[in-house]
């Protein structure tokens, strides 16, 4: 088992798949000669050449559609969109072409593309570079949405996404590319569906995904050490489809639930998980589920305001203590 960074794990998945299959290509702004904004494609241009590691013009809707069109004729494109904030411009092609083509062709055509893009608040990048968009993607039939919380998932989810015949959106995070973690030396494929119990516990379930898994894990430590509360942490690496059975199983065990998300609460992951809890296991609940979410505001530039706009570990701890009547 080797330790590697999140970006290295993504790069490794690209490299393995591109060396296995000449029809796997990658494309995006500055991914080739420049090696990628987050280094996810570093060195691949020299190895695979400009026809397969493609620097695109700044035409998000255009090149995303080009990748989708290429997938119609057997190519397996991995499309990098520099930031989810720019993915808005590609929504037409992602939603109207990739997600719907299998259905509206009665199963004749499919769009096996991978679209990778980082979302989330980094360091004072301002409102137009800090948004989260996973809630938008996960509401659309015909599209899979996964979001890795560590290098192992970043590697394994991308490997499976490239081979899967559905379009897959991979939601990454700008702050996580340098995160270190263990990735198995042997090739492996992470399931695209399901959820993972990252820490088992009895008293409350903390649901997180991507960066918020880490708030949940550190909150669980604090809750155990300082408050005697044994929290379970569930990593929702698949946002579409959400793991209804996994969510219900954990809540049926702990009888309490909290969802932590970096995005605003409205129409979000937390709202959806709460709805699933209601539908699947309402009578298992000992307390009303709660959400820990961002403040509903365009992300501010000022660092104090920026910090205040998104949740963190302490917010998760405080919300759990409140749920237990301890705050």
């Amino acid at each position: 088992m080797a330790e590697m960074m999140y970006w290295e794990a993504i790069r490794r998945a690209h490299d393995e798949e591109m060396s296995r299959d000449p029809l796997v290509i990658c494309m995006g702004e500055d991914i080739g000669v420049a090696g990628g904004t987050y280094k996810a494609t570093q060195g691949l241009y020299d190895k695979y050449g400009p026809e397969r590691v493609i620097d695109t013009p700044i035409s998000e809707n255009g090149y995303t559609g080009v990748g989708i069109g290429a997938s119609f004729v057997g190519i397996r494109p991995i499309i990098e969109i520099m930031s989810v904030n720019f993915a808005w411009l590609a929504m037409d092609q992602i939603f109207n072409s990739a997600a719907k083509v299998r259905y509206m062709s009665g199963g004749q055509l499919e769009a096996p593309v991978v679209i990778r893009s980082p979302g989330g608040t980094a360091h004072q990048l301002g409102a137009q570079h800090s948004a989260r968009m996973e809630k938008v993607f996960m509401g659309v039939a015909g599209l899979r949405v996964v979001t890795p919380s560590n290098p192992r998932q970043a590697y394994g989810l991308l490997k499976s996404a490239i081979r899967c015949n559905d379009p897959v959106f991979i939601n990454e995070h700008e702050l996580m590319y340098n995160m270190k973690g263990e990735v198995p030396d042997a090739e492996f494929f992470h399931p695209l569906e399901g959820s993972e119990v990252t820490r088992a516990g009895r008293d409350v379930t903390l649901f997180g995904y991507n960066i918020s898994v880490h708030w949940c894990l550190s909150a669980a430590d604090i809750l155990a050490k300082q408050h005697g509360i044994d929290a379970e942490v569930v990593d929702l690496y698949s946002l579409s489809p959400l793991d209804r059975a996994g969510i219900a199983a954990s809540v049926s065990k702990t009888h309490r639930a909290l969802i932590a998300e970096e995005a605003e609460a409205s129409v979000g992951v937390g709202a959806e998980v709460m709805a699933i809890i209601n539908e699947q296991c309402f009578f298992e609940l000992d307390a009303a589920p709660v959400r820990v979410s961002a403040v509903n505001v365009p992300v501010p530039y000022n660092h104090k305001l920026e910090k205040a706009s998104i949740p963190n570990t302490n917010d998760v701890v405080a919300a759990v203590l409140k749920m237990f009547g301890k705050a």
Binding site: I54, S59, V66, A70, S105, G106, R144, A161, F189
Partner: protein, 330 residues
């Protein structure tokens, strides 16, 4: 064009005309729902271009006015009409409708309803062709108003920078729904807009199939021989409303009458009659045969076909049992 090809294509165009007119009737009879965009008036565009290409082999993509393009690529007219009827036997199993005809085995890669949506898809197919080093080309048929979308410019630029085998065909019928081109578009001659992307573009009379064919031959040759993209602008006119819900308040009777005089089917028919390759009687007989054929084969097939089962509502959303969803086949 060779004489026997001209005769065959005359029949095909007349078939397309009668097919579309029968769609109109079926819509009025409420057999067809939704939006329905018909093709009469523009037949020489689709047929002229594809006569010069290899339908069924080259990849073809278009917008929502798509029935005739699909049939010309090799789609069974019965399946196309059944799709409009929403039947399980339809080309998209009743899940697509008039605007979403697909026949992938004949490389008809779809009808799409977002104006301008197919541009990048066509370029992407061309990228795939180039990567695989095969000799197909990608052909994108769209309207004049679609050129005001960002995708037009993004796609033409990408096709040019990457030197891709894609032929853009602009069927300039002078209107985007009810807005005449000069009210929406700064430059009426669409081929002129292409000079900013540095590849060849020409404008041709889209009512005369032989003119279309000759221009398309040059275009297809250019694209297939690896010289990069090409743009063909075909000046044409649609005789019916934009769709079935058309106010018809935006163009004059005089203008319509002018264009009706240049009916692509009559232009070819009269030429064949003049060349003594056809008599008016033969033409009328052929017409009646086509009308009967559509009624007795196509419409009957649709009437007798079953609808999709409601239990199958969620079929075709995602791949069936894709092993990678569970992390591989092992």
């Amino acid at each position: 064009m060779k004489l026997e090809d001209k005769k065959r294509v005359l029949r095909e165009m007349l078939y397309a005309r009668r097919f579309e007119e029968r769609c109109y009737e079926a819509y009025v009879e409420r057999k067809i729902g939704g939006f329905l965009h018909l093709y009469p008036g523009q037949e020489a565009c689709c047929h002229g271009v594809l006569e010069a290409a290899r339908p069924g082999y080259d990849y073809v993509i278009t917008g929502y006015r798509d029935h005739v393009h699909a049939i010309k690529c090799g789609a069974d007219p019965k399946e196309v009409m059944a799709e409009l009827f929403g039947k399980e036997t339809g080309s998209s199993k009743g899940r697509g409708g008039s605007m979403h005809i697909f026949d992938v085995k004949h490389r008809f890669m779809g009808g799409y309803a977002l104006v301008g949506g197919p541009f990048p898809l066509a370029v992407g197919m061309a990228k795939g062709i180039k990567l695989k080093s095969t000799d197909e080309i990608s052909i994108c048929f769209l309207g004049d108003a679609a050129n005001n979308q960002g995708t037009f410019h993004e796609s033409l630029n990408i096709a040019a920078v990457w030197q891709l085998p894609v032929l853009f065909v602009c069927e300039n019928n002078l209107y985007g729904i009810g807005t005449r081109i000069d009210r929406s578009t700064a430059v009426i001659d669409q081929h002129k807009r292409v000079c900013g992307y540095g590849f060849p573009s020409v404008q041709v009379d889209g009512q005369d199939i032989e003119a279309v064919y000759e221009a398309a031959k040059i275009a297809v040759n250019h694209v297939r021989s690896g010289k990069g993209p090409y743009f063909l602008e075909l000046m044409t006119y649609r005789y019916r409303g934009h769709s079935m819900s058309d106010s018809n308040k935006y163009r004059s009777k005089d203008e319509e009458a002018e264009w009706t005089k240049r009916d692509p089917i009559y232009i070819l028919r009269d030429r064949l009659i003049k060349e003594k390759a056809l008599t008016l009687d033969e033409y009328k007989k052929m017409d009646q045969t086509i009308i009967d054929e559509i009624e007795n084969e196509v419409i009957r097939f649709c009437e007798e076909s079953p609808e999709p089962k409601v239990e199958d509502l969620q079929k075709y959303v995602l791949a069936d049992n894709d092993p990678w969803v569970k992390g591989g086949a092992r």
